[in-house]
Symmetry: C2
Subunit: 324 residues, 2 copies
Amino acid sequence: MKKVFITGAGGFIGSNLTDRLLSEGVQVVGWDNFSSGQERFLDGALHHPSFELVRGDNLDEAGLTAAMAGCDTVFHFAANADVRFGLNHPRRDLEQNTVATFNVLEAMRWNGIKRIGFSSTGSVYGECQVIPTPEDAPFPIQTSLYAASKVAGEALIHSYCEGFGFEGYIFRFVSILGERYTHGHIFDFYKQLMEHPDYLKVLGDGSQRKSFLYIGDCLNAMLGVVRQGTAQQAKHGVETYNLGCDAFVQVNDSIAIICKTLGLMPRLEYAGGEKGWIGDNPFIYLDTQKIRGTGWETQQTIEQGIERTITWLRDNQWVYEARL
Amino acid sequence: MKKVFITGAGGFIGSNLTDRLLSEGVQVVGWDNFSSGQERFLDGALHHPSFELVRGDNLDEAGLTAAMAGCDTVFHFAANADVRFGLNHPRRDLEQNTVATFNVLEAMRWNGIKRIGFSSTGSVYGECQVIPTPEDAPFPIQTSLYAASKVAGEALIHSYCEGFGFEGYIFRFVSILGERYTHGHIFDFYKQLMEHPDYLKVLGDGSQRKSFLYIGDCLNAMLGVVRQGTAQQAKHGVETYNLGCDAFVQVNDSIAIICKTLGLMPRLEYAGGEKGWIGDNPFIYLDTQKIRGTGWETQQTIEQGIERTITWLRDNQWVYEARL
């Protein structure tokens, strides 16, 4: 990797990868429409001589194709990541995730770029009965428009690897935590506690089990396999990796860590029910043997990840304003 | 089912279902843009008082929504079914299959129609190592743009069943044979033999194993489960069925049946290799225990299906002109 194109470079994962690659001497072209990405996340990168920012939308295929010229690798992170309210605007996941991924692949094809890393999600397993869930779990039923759009993106990447000789790396994430984390229930809980430190409203019954991964560990995993070139040896030119850690916590546990970090003892008000919302998965816990088999291991525990996230949110409360 | 909307009503499966439903006293609204469908397939239906034909394209969401009004069930068959040349025009599968399926679902939502039958494909299993392949086979890698677009369609239907209370029936077909069959290798072989009865060019080495299902058996299976309402009891409101028969033949076997039916003995010229083309699956053989468990069974063997197909093609050579 000498020159990397990152879609969603202004987002949580995209901006962290941008900084990491720049620090390692790699050139980066960042692409973002800043619909949810934050320009402030790129403050450091914008002062770096090896970084170029191009504002654009993935539905603008011509602009995307032009911006990508000269790069050798694409990390495609830009997406509508609003899982919970997908049913309010079904076309958004189709366009911003499925069609956008198609446009990224076409732009790569026109530029002769073949290596792609893609942020998929553990949600593609739906309510899988095999837990921890391996990459070759039974063909799942999708329970959200978001996951459906990510499955579609994965399948498009497969077919470009098979048909056009692409080299694909699909990463099915659990929830990622850390600096610049800006959505999900930890974000929502902290927001509530800023507004009313004495009580906290919890969707579901708090028993939903979630696994988390710290952003630094996530970057190590992605860069590790892309640099090893594992997909080059794969039969169909594509490798899929679960990215998660070897543990999980209940929502109630995460609340306890947040409150401890902040020194608060709010009253907990549960909405009740097993699920937080329609399509919420009460338990995502991924089998990570495959990525561990490449030599990768986590450096941070879930507790450390939550602490770092809360500390960063406390120091960067502007993100709550920016997200309004 | 009192009034059924069929996309791709002018196609092979759509026109056969149209005739079947009309013969059973069901009203049918046929929708087709006739890009590959044949108006002559609807000659009978057009004389039936319970049939209405609406010409339109699935990318015209407003037209689709208007045409669907008053129906209680949708069978969505319209698709780009050109698997082999998908790499020549990747956007076609995205638009005509994935986006089209989204538009069908949205049109249903606006009309308050919740029951959908969908033609998917056994190709979604890619090069599955589990043979015969059951519906819950390991999460597959897609090897064609066509299959990728069908996986995307399946996932969209899942998420509408989960999120909007739809009742979904997904049918993963093997190759379907019979009257009005107009694409696939049997079609291509017969065309060659019309042009040069003394030799036949065969992609691959002829050892590719394929399973087939006769159109009448296919209709029985689809109508059977929709009428039983099996998806109403399913946890996520959707059931997926492999539709195939309990046997398979090699391409060489199908050639022998064709030649016997036609009384020809052509010289066979093999292109060689295990696969017919990039993305061709050397062996699709589906486990059909699930659909058999609903009481369905095949009435026709593969040999009978091929014979009926060849007989129909011989009597309807106009389809070769129409497809040019």
